[in-house]
């Protein structure tokens, strides 16, 4: 789906990203792990075409024609086709004066669909993110953060993308809500065979849901491994330190066995 | 120390460039206004010089025309003024034949003394009123202060001036009504202007203080045991000063421009009065100089404000033009 080779991004005199390599297959989830300042945002911006490549190339098979396209330094491109985005702060991502239903339908801005088709898609998107239809007429300030983020997710889904890029979508949420929405996100991926590029600093999420982990530090790629390999045998010391830290914070605990079925929060929380 | 010196020099350099541009633009525009104003310039000059004793003879008019190059094209007339100006020759008043500079200096000193006194009186009063009203927002004293400021803003300064004269001069005979000789002559006009300053600054300062009081870090400071008075004087006030300085600069510029009305009412020979008289008598060199002085003082005050702000706010702006 998406392959990045030796990507380098410069800004004035500094090299923001150096020699980034990864490959994301269809239906896979790749977690980009890094602390602030590691270059995560720069990487996303360069995928979007907002920051010019200094070296390297981006290959993707996301177009409708199924052909592999290549972007190289010097080329201008306005983002990857067939890719939706979900960002960190749902309050900032949603127009506070726009009703939820309209906000979600905005995801269809480029498609030409009949009204009834739009409504059908709207309803199915809402179902997938587990929001009740009553919320269509509400406005974002009336929603909880978790609901607002589900709205953003629905908006990303409605255009039937091949890939979704997430930029720390769970960081602003409560621990419990994080887990719920993470489950929803994962189920959607499995149901539609979507590819995910998921930026986060939370190793707990990565271990639970990622197929691959790309570790960034100060603009350099520390390692890119499959999840099990990373947690079993991290290829970098920094990675091992991160795993230790996550353990201390309790993010990597696993139940020996769950005593009960995990109760779901009511739909739309 | 050298770091702040560098920063200040950079501010000054930036300002210098814009100052020159402003001065040039203002002077040219004013010249254009004069140039296109109706009436024969030569006659007007002759009239002003020889004091309206009937019509000016054509020979004298021709002489004047030649002296001032009044039949030359627009731009060379402008340069005719600009050239000597840049060398320090500000010209002579058409009316009194005195050097513009000589006329200007005592007047500007008058205005300065009036302006600074008014500013100080006004600011002190505004500070007291704003602090009291912020002490307990919504209380009686708060509402009184706000009402006072609103009423004051609605009061025309000439009306207030006249009232003060009526009360303190005519009736009580405590203070002189006009003239500029001594300190007591300063009191009434400074109070009139000062009240104008108070009304504009009280509301502003009050809202700046309220905003500063709502800053998030104050609670943590309280929890550390910092007393309320220390919080006010060292933290809240400092925060409120930052926007306040800008607004005080605005008022100071206005004051310097020569609170015309007040000066006329109290018969003081300040810049404002000078402005009025020079425009009325078409005293072109004086007008040009005064206009330029206005522009210059605005830029100067803005620069001072910027320097003070730079000193007050430790988070420096990233772009300072040439700064790397």
């Amino acid at each position: 789906m998406l392959t990045v080779k030796s990507l380098c991004v410069d800004a004035q005199d500094t090299r923001l990203l150096d020699d980034i390599n990864f490959s994301l297959g269809a239906g896979e989830c790749l977690c980009i792990i890094g602390e602030s300042g590691s270059g995560k945002t720069t990487l996303l911006k360069s995928l979007q075409g907002m920051m010019p490549m200094a070296e390297g190339s981006i290959h993707h098979g996301l177009s409708d024609d199924g052909v592999e396209h290549i972007y190289q330094p010097g080329q201008h491109y306005l983002g990857l086709p067939g890719v939706s985005w979900v960002m960190q702060n749902p309050t900032a991502a949603l127009n506070p004066h726009q009703r939820v239903g309209d906000a979600i339908l905005e995801g269809l801005y480029s498609a030409r669909l009949s009204k009834s088709e739009q409504q059908t898609r709207l309803r199915s998107a809402l179902q997938e993110v587990e929001l009740s239809e009553e919320l269509i007429m509400r406005k974002p300030p009336q929603l909880s953060l978790g609901q607002a983020q589900r709205v953003c997710l629905a908006r990303a889904l409605i255009s039937r993308p091949k890939m979704i890029i997430f930029d720390e979508p769970l960081s602003a949420l409560d621990a419990v809500v994080q887990k719920q929405i993470a489950r929803v996100i994962d189920e959607i991926r499995k149901a539609h065979g979507l590819s995910y590029l998921f930026v986060t600093h939370d190793l707990g999420f990565a271990r639970a849901y990622a197929d691959q982990i790309l570790l960034l530090r100060n603009g350099k790629m520390e390692t890119c491994q499959r999840t099990d390999d990373f947690f079993g045998n991290p290829a970098s010391i920094y990675g091992a330190e991160l795993i230790d830290a996550a353990t201390i914070l309790g993010a990597l605990e696993q139940p020996a066995e769950l005593s009960e079925e995990i109760p779901r929060l009511e739909a739309g929380q | 120390m050298t770091q702040s010196f560098r920063r200040i020099s950079l501010i000054l350099l930036n300002r210098l460039a814009s100052l020159l541009a402003v001065m040039f633009g203002v002077s040219f525009l004013t010249f254009l206004l004069y140039y296109f104003s109706p009436g024969d310039k030569a006659l007007a000059i002759g009239q002003a010089r020889y004091g309206g004793e009937g019509d000016i003879q054509p020979e004298i008019a021709a002489m004047i025309r030649e002296e001032f190059g009044l039949d030359k094209p627009l731009f060379s007339q402008f340069l005719h003024w600009l050239g000597p100006f840049l060398q320090g020759d500000f010209g002579k008043s058409f009316v009194s034949q005195e050097e513009v500079w000589v006329i200007f200096v005592p007047n500007v000193l008058e205005t300065l003394s009036l302006a600074l006194t008014a500013l100080i009186i006004g600011l002190c009063l505004a500070f007291v009123l704003a602090t009291l009203s912020v002490w307990k927002p919504g209380s009686l004293i708060d509402r009184f202060a706000v009402a006072f400021a609103s009423i004051g803003a609605a009061m025309p300064s000439f009306w207030l001036g006249l009232l003060l004269i009526l009360f303190f001069s005519a009736t009580l005979k405590w203070l002189p009504a006009y003239g500029s000789e001594g300190l007591e002559h300063l009191i009434l006009p400074a109070t009139t202007l000062g009240l104008w300053v108070t009304t504009s600054q009280t509301r502003l300062f009050r809202s700046f203080l309220l905003e500063a009081k709502a800053a998030p870090h104050l609670e943590a400071l309280r929890l550390r045991g910092v007393s309320e008075s220390e919080l006010f004087w060292k933290h809240i006030l400092r925060h409120a000063m930052i926007p306040a300085v800008t607004m005080i600069g605005v008022d100071l510029a206005g004051l310097l421009e020569g609170a015309v009305i007040v000066e006329v009412i109290f018969s003081r020979n300040g810049i404002g009065a000078l402005f009025v008289h020079s425009v009325l008598s078409r005293d072109y060199p004086l007008i040009m100089f005064l206009v330029l002085f206005s522009a210059f003082s605005y830029v100067l005050i803005n620069t001072l404000v910027e320097i003070v702000q730079d000193w007050l706010v430790p988070i420096k702006r990233v772009n300072r033009g040439a700064v790397s």
Partner: protein, 263 residues
């Protein structure tokens, strides 16, 4: 009080309103000397209101009933509007540095002010360096807050809290503003320091996993009520309330299945 109370902090029947809306009802909890107690709850549960009532910050939530006993001193929560400050033995670490440092004043000046106001006399240079060093912080120099990174500022807030030699250290969402590496380092150091100096800690967080790692006892707060309060081990094993069960079973990320389905 004739009976010696071994609890350092004891809150009884605290209720609070914002305007007419009830935000806290009948909160009772306690903390022993040197113990770590965590208050866990989702956003909107009332955690910050609870903290503020304990600390005497009565805006916007005002207590309508309740008492508090701290270090054998009774405090009537409704009547006593004074801030429970450092010289009483409280220390508070806010969630982010904007809420703790004055951006206009140099760090060294703020530090001196804190030392002075904590009523603890002078602090020697060595003591200062030791405390700062234990949190991985350099000397202030003539720095302003914005010249340090967010992480450093946050750790400095902890230093500010600790310099007062408090009996009770209150941490508001201690890890949310920090990157995981620094967060882990910081919280371990803080808890070590607390243990060493017998300082009780009250941690407010939405992350049950974090609370479970460090707290001796947990209070689960939901919609202004304490659903459960008890030892961590017991609560984790067998939560009594529905909300407790919800929290406990949701504290793990779901276990990844062996072979993810591909469409």
């Amino acid at each position: 009080m004739s009976k010696t109370n071994s609890s350092l902090l004891s809150v009884r029947d605290l209720s609070a309103n914002i305007g007419r809306q009830i935000v806290l009802s009948d909160i009772s909890l306690d903390a022993q000397h040197g113990e770590c107690v965590a208050i866990v709850g989702g956003s909107g549960a009332g955690k910050s209101c609870l903290l503020r009532c304990i600390m005497g910050l009565y805006r916007p939530a005002k207590p309508t009933s309740g008492q508090m006993i701290f270090a054998d001193q009774m405090i009537e929560l409704v009547k006593d509007r004074s801030v429970r400050s450092a010289d009483l033995g409280f220390a508070f670490v806010p969630q982010n540095p904007q809420a703790g440092l004055d951006p206009l004043k140099r760090l060294a000046v703020q530090w001196k002010q804190a030392v002075r106001c904590a009523n603890r006399g002078e602090m020697s240079k060595e003591e200062q360096s030791e405390l700062l060093g234990s949190l991985g912080l350099p000397d202030f120099g003539s720095c302003y807050p914005h010249e340090w990174s967010q992480g450093m500022q946050q750790r400095l807030l902890i230093a500010f809290a600790l310099l007062a030699r408090p009996k009770l250290l209150i941490l508001d969402e201690p890890t949310s503003a920090l990157d995981p590496l620094i967060a882990a380092q910081t919280i371990t150091r803080v808890m070590a320091h607390a243990k060493e100096h017998d300082i009780a800690t009250l941690i407010v967080t939405h992350d049950l996993a974090l609370a479970a790692r460090f707290a001796n006892r947990l209070a689960i707060l939901s919609a202004g009520k304490i659903e459960e309060f008890g030892s961590t081990a017991k609560l984790m094993e067998a939560p009594g309330s529905d909300y407790g069960k919800l929290l406990v079973s949701n504290r793990y990320w779901a276990h990844q299945s062996q072979s993810p389905e591909r469409v």
